[in-house]
């Protein structure tokens, strides 16, 4: 008895793990993968527009953990997609050998779109995974390539859904373990158990990595890129050595320049310490998905802005001693610059900032990516 629900088969395909190559399994994996990629894409887009805001975009200051959550979800859904994608490809693998390979122009286009879909999906997952482990075996710049190919992947998913919609509808409407041919349970692992196994794989990789951002998973996340430990109890993304600021940042003659419409002032570290100090519990949340909470203490940004005649409606630029790289400065939107919790921090967890945390002073704000929390600040400019 031939199972009419089998996907198109190359020779003897039914013999080769018959029950896994089934449209009902493929459609369910596809649905899970589509949801994971969708969430991953939207959270990635959020991170992108926070870092390169278009004129219409504002990112709220509360809740303080907002970016920590969106970016944690971005990395977790990306990692969860790895077993989902591999399982999905396993279920549809026989279709690669469809004969004849190309039947018509639309069929050729459809196959091309699937190639683009699989290639772009692999690209996003592999580059994302290697980026969080700081491994760059390629020549391109990760953020721009990861961003560009994400649009291709999502577009290809939308095309794929449009092409497959009737099959998806039919397959999702049927029971996954329905036995229309009467003997499916006698022929190896059932489809439901295969899906459960993939679910177990998803849980395994998420638990093994999510501790980088979910504190209570730290002990069991054996594959997390970070334990959450570091100098003064907080991990570091770029060290003072890597940023090339060891000498300039530890110079006892350090002075902070603050420039505004009324004045340009120069403050020593002692000047900063004599200004009113504010304490704030804020997470440092990296674009790479890891995050850690800390207690920060320092001068409110808005107090510094006020001292040079700036208004609460003005954006503020922070320039680092770090001269190399793209992240040597950041622009703090006015909404954040006037926020109670936006600090030029001098202390972390009750101690003077470690050199690797941005000594002598660093920016820390609510709900923004770590790359914008400029360290080793040497100049603050109120932007007109």
């Amino acid at each position: 008895v031939s199972d009419r629900r089998q996907l198109s088969l190359p020779p003897r395909e039914e013999e080769l793990v018959g029950h896994l190559h089934d449209e009902r399994v493929a459609a369910r994996l596809g649905l899970a993968l589509g949801i994971a990629f969708g969430i991953c894409f939207l959270t990635g887009l959020i991170s992108h527009v926070i870092q390169q805001p278009p004129w219409w975009f504002t990112w709220p200051t509360r809740p303080v953990n907002l970016y920590r959550v969106t970016q944690g979800v971005h990395v977790i859904t990306g990692i969860a997609s790895i077993p989902l994608l591999l399982a999905k490809l396993a279920t549809v693998y026989p279709r690669l050998f469809t004969w004849p390979p190309v039947r018509s122009a639309p069929h050729a286009l459809e196959r091309l779109s699937v190639l683009v879909l699989v290639g772009a999906a692999f690209f996003e997952l592999i580059t994302g995974l290697l980026n969080i482990a700081h491994w760059y075996p390629w020549g391109f710049f990760f953020p721009t390539a990861h961003y560009a190919v994400a649009w291709i992947a999502v577009g290809a998913i939308v095309v794929h859904i449009a092409v497959k919609l009737p099959v998806i509808r039919r397959a999702l409407g049927d029971r996954v373990d329905g036995d229309d041919d009467g003997h499916d349970s006698a022929d190896g692992p059932s489809r439901r158990l295969f899906l459960a196994g993939v679910g177990a794989g998803v849980v395994a990789v998420v638990v093994a990595t999510a501790g980088a951002t979910v504190p209570w998973l730290r002990r069991v996340s054996v594959l997390a890129v970070r334990t959450g430990e570091g100098p003064q109890g907080v991990p570091v993304n770029k060290s003072a050595v890597a940023a090339g600021v060891v000498d300039t940042a530890s110079d006892p003659g350090f002075r902070l320049e603050v420039a505004g419409p009324d004045a340009v002032i120069s403050l020593s570290l002692d000047d900063l310490r004599t200004m009113p100090q504010t304490t704030a519990d804020l997470p440092i949340a990296c674009v790479e998905g890891w995050s850690a909470s800390a207690t920060w203490r320092g001068v409110r940004v808005r107090d510094l802005v006020q001292r040079v005649g700036g208004s609460p409606d003005q954006d503020v630029r922070f320039v680092s001693l770090q001269e190399s790289g793209l992240y040597g400065q950041s622009l703090l939107p006015a909404l954040h610059a006037r926020d109670d919790l936006s600090l030029l921090a001098l202390e972390i967890n009750g101690e003077v900032l470690d050199l690797d945390h941005g000594y002598p002073c660093r920016l820390i704000t609510a709900s923004r990516p770590g790359v914008l929390q400029t360290k080793w600040v040497r100049r603050i400019e109120v932007v007109a």
Binding site: L86, G119, R169
Partner: protein, 153 residues
């Protein structure tokens, strides 16, 4: 719509409707935007190998090997052990795919001990061992059930 499959009658095999055409057009537009960003912000010659390379490695190497293993297990293993072994294979495969980037420690830097600060080899082995242990227990339980003369239900 799908190749080689006899129509069930419930699925219209004919022309896609307006909705699907519209959806496909949206998808093509998104892809075009992405392609434009690839060309505008990146060197496409550097990006392309990382799009096509993984597909080739998967389709020509990983998939045949893994599906071959599944097929072999299907043929060789007693039925009561097939499901636990398949699930263990899926979980171990998933863990391996994710572990590859940290096991190599390629991104480690002497100036930043807070990065890649675990014993990943030990963690990976423990995770695989746990998975296999659970699978083994399932196999033993399944075997008892299968061989027991008083089968439940």
């Amino acid at each position: 719509v799908s190749s080689g499959r006899p129509s069930t009658g419930r699925v219209s095999a004919g022309r896609p409707g307006v909705g699907r055409t519209l959806l496909a057009s949206v998808g093509v537009a998104l892809m075009a935007f992405g392609a434009w960003r690839v060309v505008a912000d990146n060197n496409p010659l550097q990006v392309a190998p990382w799009v096509l390379g993984p597909v080739l490695v998967h389709d020509l190497l990983i998939a045949p090997v893994v599906l071959g293993l599944v097929w072999l297990g299907h043929r060789v293993l007693p039925r009561y052990s097939q499901t636990p072994v398949l699930v263990a294979l899926v979980v171990c495969g998933a863990l391996t795919a994710v572990a590859a980037s940290v096991l190599t420690r390629a991104g480690a830097r002497p100036d930043n001990p807070s990065l890649l600060d675990r014993n990943y080899v030990a963690g990976y082995i423990v995770a695989l061992a746990l998975t296999m242990l659970v699978a083994l227990i399932c196999v033993i339980v399944n075997r008892r059930r299968t061989l027991s003369p008083r089968r439940a239900s």
